[in-house]
Amino acid sequence: MVMNHDTRVYDNIVEMLPDEANPSPMVRINRLGATSGFPLYAKLEWMNPFGSVKDRAALGMLRDLQHRGALRNGRGLVEPTSGNTGISLAALGAALGYPVRAVVPERVPEEKKAILRILGAELDVVADALCPMPGQTGGGTINLAKTHAKAQPDRYVMPNQYENPENVLAHFRTTGPEIWRQTEGKITHLFVSLGTCGTVSGTSRFLKGRNPAVKVIAVQPSEGHDIPGLRNTSELDVSTLFDRTLIDDIVEIPYELACVRVLDLCRREGLLAGPSSGLVLEGALRAQTDGARGLGVMIFPDGLFKYVGYIAKHVKGITEEALF
């Protein structure tokens, strides 16, 4: 048998990673504010083999390191992550034979830490400093990962998703072309959340290259939020990939709404989405209310299962006692 996307037969899990020929699915929103004037489609990134949008950047960065010969002689990877990039890298590392060390902040959901351990990643959990520095959340994990790479250069190389142009290129090569093809060029609005900004920068650059009129709307949680993996623009100092010229509007949503929309997506659409997807949905629904016309695509970064504890913490009535 040979690799075949139609029959979904693969020689290696890595072949399953998404691209234009094998796009992640897009599903129309039907019961939550559906209008004929502005249909909304969710691009389900949790359908990627390792469960999130980060599969794309992880593969792009890893392939680049392979081509540059940076992974020879048993050298592995060390990366700061709020979980998903670490999971993607650890799974790719498992498939391709590279050890992975993931550096995560303490507040990352326990499920993600557990998955990283199950995948065999070495895990550093960085306690939030006694007085965290405003605007520099994530600084501790980035610095610790850099420290490992600097102190043990023979053991580790750091892809550094916050500064690595391969993170942007991955979306320019895959996410953008997939959406263009899936919507037959009809996309008018892209709704996307901000983290490292690889997704927004790469996808926007591709789509605006095809049609400069495509509006790119970044949806960000209000300040003080605790949604794993997302950043408010006040926290974006850590990323060099943020390019404001590729974003038309930045919409701020009270972060507490993310979990409410997760329940809506689960209960009214059957979409088992995570909190960042809930936030993106809210941003798109607001644009719809404001009279947007055309075709909206929302990038849903990952799914529900890693956030059960998080949801229990944030949704009244869904307590851990009721769940477990």
Binding site: R107, D124, V126, A127, D128, A129, L130, C131, P132, M133, P134, G140, N143, L144, K146, T147, H148, K150, A151, Q152, G224, D226
Partner: protein, 280 residues
């Protein structure tokens, strides 16, 4: 305009040149030793702010005897030049500097830009190897209480608005919007600031690379805009006393305000007092 005491600052390049020279010792001071254990400047010993520099039974700085044991155990003699550096923009290293000065260590310096600057410079290295230094007998001086503000002094200062009080926390903490930074446990009963205190967040003292701003810029920030009278005594405070030691260092050594004190009780003491008013 030079710093008032430029001798208390060294640059990363100076440290690289002087690693291993007799009489020069490097100490990394962090909130814990996770970063130090992962990698540090060759030859540096690591001090844990929470465990090594705080008394574990009384909320207090370590005793003179404990300080002598800590430094002697690390092979540091009172004649050594000690260069301190650390994470979080040198907050904990600045606290260490304050403690070294309290116990009268003559030659102590901060590495400008801290751990992060060294980390991001291509020509600098880190090691995981922990150095061995033969223990020595260290004799400290009696504590210089003149560097440390106590509660009664702070309450007095608040009433008279002299000495000047500087709140170095974030604006949201100063105005009482939040008790502690996001993600921190709320270790005070009230949110706000000490009456009469001016707000100058610690971070305004440093550039993007973590190095201190120039003397002119600092004078503009603290004296002109902040309204601090350099002829009067001044007290800096934050939440637990480490961000404020960073500002204390600026006020005393870079701007040359002779009578500058660090209030290490800070908001986690003041914000919990019964029958003492605060401002929002």
């Amino acid at each position: 305009m030079p710093y008032a005491h430029p001798e208390v600052l060294v640059e990363t390049d100076w440290v690289k040149e002087n690693i291993g020279k007799p009489g020069i010792r490097l100490v990394e001071v962090d909130v814990d030793l996770q970063a130090y254990d992962a990698g540090h400047i060759p030859g540096a010993v690591g001090f844990n702010w929470q465990k090594d520099l705080q008394d574990q039974l009384t909320r207090d700085i370590i005793s003179r005897a404990a300080f002598e044991k800590l430094l002697g155990g690390a092979g540091i003699s009172p004649r050594d030049t000690v260069v301190l550096y650390g994470d979080n923009n040198n907050w904990f290293a600045a606290y260490g500097f304050w403690l070294f000065k309290i116990y009268g260590h003559e030659n102590v310096k901060l590495m400008n830009g801290g751990r992060q600057k060294w980390l991001n410079e291509q020509d600098k290295t880190f090691t995981k190897d922990k150095p061995y230094h033969s223990p020595v007998l260290y004799t400290a001086k009696p504590p210089n209480e003149g560097l440390r503000a106590r509660l009664s002094e702070v309450i007095g200062a608040s009433g008279e608005r002299n000495p000047n009080l500087v709140d170095v926390r974030s604006n949201d903490e100063y105005t009482g919007k939040i008790i502690a930074p996001p993600g921190m446990s709320e270790t005070a009963q009230r949110a706000g600031h000490i009456p009469g205190a001016v707000s100058v967040p610690w971070s305004t003292a440093v550039d993007k690379d973590g190095r201190f701003k120039s003397a002119e810029e600092l004078a503009e920030i603290y004296l002109k805009k902040g309204g601090i009278d350099s002829k009067k005594p001044v007290i800096a405070y934050c939440r637990i006393g480490e961000r404020s030691s960073h500002t204390w260092f600026v006020l005393k050594y870079l701007l040359g305000i002779e009578n500058a004190k660090n209030y290490d009780g800070s908001w986690t003491e003041y914000g919990n007092l019964v029958a003492v008013p605060i401002e929002k």
